[in-house]
């Protein structure tokens, strides 16, 4: 295995980070299906499932909503494991002694739990087995140098966030708190973003430093506006995801059943009489909570924010295509990168708007609504990663950035 975890490209580490991001993306989809099927509370206990340990729950009992909720939990634990391995990998050889001690501690704790806590024998056994494997892995762990300090902290942050996310999901069940469900949805998106960033930071392109935004200082006014426009659009997508998670967390189905109009108008009537009329006319099978004026307005805001995001992302693409083509070799590569990612982002936003419309036209079919959620995650990840590339600063970039930057700085002052 490559012993250079620090500074140079490590293909194994990078592809494992990509795998973790893909796993997280699938997990987002699994979580989306749980919400789309209103199955979040179909397993009333946590961390157990119907009294069974999570890994001992018989597959024959995974029926109806239980299937979606339990597979979500299992997949989440797999992503948690992948994130743990990724974080440890970034610590390189320094993780070896930690893994041995932590593994031994976990094994002992697991055995204690298995024998002393009633109903937790299977969870305790899993913890003990994990501890033993971790301890053993500590003896054969790669002896590579640790990654850069900030990257190690980012890996640790990902580990902590996945733990918090798991606990949030569990608390949503045991505390009967639907608001925590919406928070769980948003944190899930942010965690996906973090795994994507880790995949970027461990990539060959990043390590080679080819995507340095500062290289385009020579690009003039259009470029100076671009990073801030991309960041603004990304921030707006985060707001949009929070709006979406809030809408899904209402469990009220479609607050507005038509698109592009809303109850046949550009802006729907939200008076008390109108809301009563809407509720009297809607016959729902799955999402029977009556709708409120707040929910109708929320969906209208969601639509308007979607339009704003589209305009902003289209403007980003326009600015990216106005970047000056300097003709130099590496700069030409960067120019291509910025132009391509801008078009990719526009295409994603268009697809996402189409999926939003399809969610309404299919009366919030579970698979379409989940695809819409995943589309939102991709839009966010694209904007956030592009922002990172555009705003990357010398301290975050690997060598030999300073030399290149100073040369380009001189170019910019000409």
């Amino acid at each position: 295995m490559n012993k250079n975890c620090d500074g140079q490209y490590n293909a194994w580490l990078h592809w494992f980070a990509v795998l973790t991001a893909v796993g997280t993306f699938v997990l987002l989809g699994a979580g989306g299906l749980v919400t789309s099927h209103d199955a979040g509370m179909s397993v009333p206990d946590w961390p157990n499932s119907y009294g069974y340990g999570m890994y001992a729950f018989p597959a024959s009992k995974w029926v109806g909503g239980i299937f979606y909720e339990h597979t979500h939990r299992l997949w989440a634990s797999a992503v948690g494991l992948m994130t743990t391995i990724l974080a440890l990998w970034l610590f390189g050889k320094n993780a070896r002694s930690f893994m041995r001690w932590m593994g031994a501690t976990l094994a002992v704790a697991g055995i204690v739990i298995a024998f002393l806590i009633s109903g937790q024998s299977s969870n305790g056994a899993v913890a003990a087995a994990t501890g033993i494997v971790m301890c053993a892995a500590g003896f054969v762990w790669p002896r590579c140098n640790p990654a850069a300090k900030w990257l190690r902290w980012l890996g640790l942050g990902a580990f902590l966030l996945v733990v918090v996310q798991g606990v949030l999901g569990g608390l949503r069940v045991v505390l009967f708190n639907a608001d925590l469900g919406a928070v769980h949805g948003v944190v899930g998106q942010l965690f996906f973003l973090l795994t994507c960033a880790l995949a970027l930071f461990t990539s060959r392109s990043w390590q080679a430093g080819v995507n340095r935004a500062a290289d385009y200082i020579a690009g003039g006014r259009p470029f100076r506006a671009l990073p801030f426009a991309v960041l603004a659009a990304t921030a707006l997508i985060v707001i949009q995801l929070i709006l979406g998670a809030t809408m899904r967390g209402q469990h009220a189905g479609l607050a507005i059943p038509d698109f592009p109009l809303a109850y046949g108008k550009l802006w729907p009537d939200t008076s008390a009489a109108a809301i009563l009329h809407y509720n009297a006319q809607r016959i729902e099978v799955m999402h029977v909570n009556p709708i409120t004026a707040f929910q109708v307005i929320l969906q209208m805001v969601h639509r308007l924010v979607a339009l704003t995001i589209f305009v902003l992302v289209a403007a980003c693409a326009m600015w990216a295509h106005r970047l000056e083509d300097t003709g130099a070799g590496s700069l030409k590569t960067q120019l291509r990168f910025h132009r391509r990612i801008s078009l990719f982002w526009v295409a994603l936003i268009v697809c996402q708007i189409a999926l939003g419309a399809a969610t309404i036209w299919t009366h919030k079919a579970a698979d379409v609504a989940t695809a819409h959620l995943l589309g939102g995650a991709l839009c966010l990840a694209t904007g956030a990663l592009w922002s990172i590339v555009l705003f990357a600063r010398p301290w975050i970039l690997p060598e030999p950035y300073p030399a290149t930057a100073s040369a380009l700085g001189a170019l910019a002052t000409k």
Binding site: H37, D38, A39, G40, M41, S42, V43, P44, Y50, K61, V63, G64, G65, I66, E69, V173, F176, L276, H277, N279, A280, Q281, R282, I283, V285, M286, V288, N289, P290
Partner: protein, 235 residues
């Protein structure tokens, strides 16, 4: 001692004589939106075996001459505030909610605070009984195995249309209305209701339908029975 017992008995008899019943009919004018089939029920391997065709929702149960079922009719004080502290739920017969054919029966219930609610599972599959309050009653989420033992609940606070749902089968819903007094009824299939033994006085009588909202009238109960009718309109 004898005098005290006699006085209480006389007062009780006098109350019984003066207490009156409120009866009436709730009707629906206009054509309600068509009910839809519980299509997802046919995708479930166990529940689908209980049906040849998927059953329909029953939000609007309308009988002859527009008589409307599942309307909760209840009394409030004359000023429109809730009547509190009069529950006899602790001694009332338990209300029963059954899970049968992967649906709740009945879908609408009205009961008193402190009254027992017995939830049965007559189905050959597991359900989770998830009770969601919006008015401070405790939330429950209990698994109930196929033909499993009954679950028993009681709720301390009045609430309209408290939701009961099964998250395993997300089309299963029931709504319970809770009152802190015994003066309420749920209209039957003929749209009729009877509120018994109402003490004399001025009241607001309210009719509330899950989809259609509520209507109210002011009434005065004396020594004789009172008739009150309601007519909802759907556009």
């Amino acid at each position: 001692m004898k005098f005290a017992v006699l006085s209480i008995l006389m007062a009780a008899v006098a109350f019984a004589v003066r207490a009156a019943d409120i009866t009436g009919v709730v009707t629906l004018q206009g054509t309600p939106p068509p009910e839809v089939q519980y299509a997802p029920i046919m995708d479930d391997p166990t529940c689908s075996k209980l049906y040849t065709n998927a059953p329909f929702t029953e939000f609007y149960v309308v009988g002859k001459n527009g008589r409307l079922a599942n309307v909760v009719v209840f009394l409030q004080n004359a000023d429109g505030t809730d009547i509190t502290g009069k529950s006899t739920g602790a001694t009332a017969a338990p209300a029963v909610l059954d899970q049968k054919g992967c649906l709740y029966h009945p879908q609408f219930l009205a009961m008193q605070t402190g009254q027992k609610l017995i939830v049965k599972n007559s189905d050959p599959c597991v359900h989770n009984v998830h009770i969601i309050s919006k008015n401070g009653n405790p939330e429950y989420n209990d698994a109930q195995m196929a033909h499993g033992p009954d679950l028993t609940y009681a709720f301390p606070k009045p609430e309209m249309f408290m939701k009961v749902q099964c998250d395993i089968h997300p089309w299963m819903f029931a709504w319970i209305s809770l009152f802190d007094n015994p003066w309420f009824d749920l209209t039957a299939n003929d749209g009729a209701f009877t509120i018994k033994n109402v003490p004399p006085g001025k009241y607001t009588i309210v009719a509330s339908h899950y989809k259609l909202g509520k209507q109210s009238q002011t009434i005065e109960v004396g020594g004789s029975n009172v008739t009150v009718n309601f007519a909802f309109t759907v556009k």
